[in-house]
């Protein structure tokens, strides 16, 4: 009995010490006690130095938390119990959250830096007039490939993935809308098609890709491509940037038929407590120099036009990350197709995956 009590006391003492250290750390990392905002963002999606800079400039302490999917983030906000002042969902999630009344309108009068944003990224279908959201990062879906492994073969169209020489070489992302969307694009249809004939045609088209498909996987794609274990991958521009950073042979292209253009935007959820602070934070992130530093850290493309002046010219001239307007005209943004249609997409995708077994 004695040693049990002794062990318990040790545990309590250790916990107390750790709690004390944590309290100290929390005090030193923030400047003031009461005035704070809670930011809910994707992991590794913001330069931590900028948080410190924001705290120093405004005196508002930032509590930073991360999520791993739009759906998970929405659940947390919908249920309440949390006080997120800022969240960063993707476009279709913004539309959905807005429909469920989870968002507060943004007061642009408090955002003098709003003018820094490229008008091309404003007033889009998922949030007309940007009443509820402010662009944060954007990117495309395309083909990453390693010419060294392919005897110099290049990719201009989705059709090139069907090339018979690519047997067992193509890796696809494990995501229904991306893969079915590629099938639709390859046939010249819209990414947001709800026409069952078109969808079926796309699914059948994808089934003929079977001999070329090596795998349908998630984040492991980066590693496979970098190590040269796969030669071609359907992937997002940011992930392609990661691959190229580690393996200079890899190239990325957005096929000419068109592809997906996606956005992650900052929003103020219904649960926000410090709306003033949330606006201050958005305005801070829109500052040209801050946005440039953040884009440099994260590696995705920034929608901030003024930030371009502070960035490496080599990066912003790179058509793979910053396609020109003509290329962007071919790109489409996902629409929220509703639960039922999403089910159809998922079913078609599942059918394709089962076919591969």
């Amino acid at each position: 009995m004695k040693d049990i009590i002794r062990v318990s006391i040790v545990i309590l003492a250790v916990s107390a010490i750790l709690l004390f250290i944590n309290a100290k750390l929390a005090n030193t990392s923030g400047t003031s006690g009461k005035n704070s905002i809670t930011v809910f963002n994707w992991g590794e999606y913001l330069d931590p130095d900028l948080l410190k800079q924001f705290e120093e400039e405004t005196g508002i302490k930032v509590i930073y938390e991360t999520f791993d999917s739009n759906e998970a983030m929405m659940t947390k906000i919908e249920q309440g119990g949390t006080t997120y002042d800022i969240a960063v969902p993707s476009e279709y999630a913004i539309e959905k959250m807005n429909e469920s009344g989870l968002l507060l309108p943004i007061d642009k009068a408090k955002l003098p830096n709003f003018q820094n944003i490229d008008p091309y990224f404003l007033d889009l279908a998922f949030d007309p007039e940007n009443k509820f959201s402010v662009p944060y990062f954007w990117g495309t879906l395309g083909i990453a490939y390693n010419p060294k492994l392919l005897e110099g073969q290049t990719f201009e169209s989705w059709e090139d993935l069907w090339d018979p020489t690519l047997e067992q070489e193509v890796v696809l992302v494990d995501s229904a809308r991306e893969v079915i969307g590629m099938g639709l694009n390859a046939l010249g249809y819209s990414l947001n098609s709800t026409n069952s004939l078109e969808l079926e045609e796309a699914a059948n088209k994808l089934k003929t890709l079977k001999p070329n498909i090596k795998a349908i996987i998630g984040d492991e794609i980066t590693q496979l491509m970098v190590n040269g274990e796969a030669a071609v991958a359907l992937t997002w521009s940011g992930q392609a940037a990661d691959m190229m950073w580690d393996n200079e042979d890899i190239d990325y292209v957005v096929p000419e038929e068109g592809s997906n253009l996606w956005f992650d935007n900052m929003v103020i959820p219904r649960t926000a407590k410090n709306i003033e602070g949330a606006h201050a934070f958005i305005n801070f992130m829109l500052d040209a120099e801050v946005a440039a530093q953040n884009a440099d850290y994260v590696g995705y493309s920034t929608p901030n036009l003024a930030a371009m002046n502070f960035m490496d010219p080599e990066v912003i001239e790179d058509e793979r990350y910053y396609p020109d307007e003509e290329a962007r005209d071919h790109l489409e943004v996902y629409k929220n197709l509703g639960l039922e249609m999403l089910g159809t997409y998922n079913e078609l995708f599942l059918g394709l995956k089962m076919e591969l077994q």
């Binding site: 009995m1 750790l18 999606y45 930073y64 991360t66 984040d219 590696g299």
Partner: protein, 266 residues
């Protein structure tokens, strides 16, 4: 048991290699200056320095440890008392019913437990954060402790208690001087299992974290979009070394005091 013949030895070695290779692979790359896991460039300690510089990460690590220690302690206390109570329930049907309810909690998926906790906490009005995470960790650890302690209690002969009562022991004496010393190995096993359960739980924790409180598993999962950095490798390395030291310390204490936690003299 005699000396191991060759085949089992080879097999054992193989199992250990499979178990430890990923850990050492991870540790190896935590010293890579290249910044990725794809090729080793040169030796560096920069990722370890990054861990200590990142106060947020350190705070999350401490949070994780505090929650694990406290939840294991509380759930062990409740679990042991629960197990004792279950053993002394006379009605067999009632005892089996309670045991089944305990077991259902062990096999039910974490996601469901997490989601129901989230709904419960928001309904009752508990603010998500340290308290909600601690309460849910205590809750899902209790059934595990009960399961670890029960066999020891069943092993104990009822005549031990009868003898103690005959010799004039009070109820409290019976519990603290007879039952608990006898089931001590089970108590420690339950405590350590609860500790590890709490340390690596993602699904339940994910639902009930909030307002700036987070644990390591949730943090690492959320790095999916931008990729896990080598800082995490370094942090994993540090945790591995600390665990190693704890295990060695545990054996050192055991040998010294000659009254091991495991194996009461019978």
């Amino acid at each position: 048991m005699g000396k191991l013949s060759k085949l089992p030895k080879v097999y054992l070695a193989f199992v250990f290699i499979v178990l430890y290779t990923p850990i050492f692979y991870l540790l190896y790359y935590s010293f890579n200056s290249g910044g990725t896991m794809s090729g080793f460039e040169s030796f560096t300690f920069e990722h370890y320095a990054a861990v200590f510089e990142d106060t947020r990460l350190i705070m999350i690590l401490f949070n994780t440890i505090i929650v694990a220690l406290l939840s294991a302690l509380v759930s062990t206390t409740i679990g042991v008392l629960g197990a004792v109570t279950i053993t002394f329930i006379r009605k067999k049907a009632l005892r089996n019913a309670i045991l089944s309810m305990n077991n259902i909690l062990i096999v039910s998926p974490d996601v469901i437990i997490g989601a129901s906790f989230l709904i419960l906490f928001t309904m009752v009005g508990v603010k998500l954060g340290f308290a909600s995470v601690l309460i849910s960790h205590i809750a899902f650890s209790i059934p595990i402790v009960v399961i670890m302690v029960l066999p020891k209690l069943q092993e104990m002969s009822p005549s031990l208690i009868d003898a103690a009562i005959d010799l004039g022991a009070s109820r409290r004496d019976v519990l603290t001087r007879v039952i608990i010393p006898f089931i001590k190995p089970g108590i420690f096993a339950g405590f350590f299992l609860a500790l590890t359960y709490s340390l690596d739980d993602f699904a339940v924790t994910f639902f009930v974290t909030g307002n700036g409180f987070s644990t390591l598993s949730v943090e690492i999962y959320s790095m999916a979009r931008a990729g896990v950095t080598l800082t995490i490798n370094a942090l994993s390395g540090l945790i591995f070394i600390v665990t190693l030291l704890l295990v060695f310390g545990y054996y050192a204490i055991n040998r010294k005091s000659k009254t091991p936690f495991s194996g009461v003299r019978k």
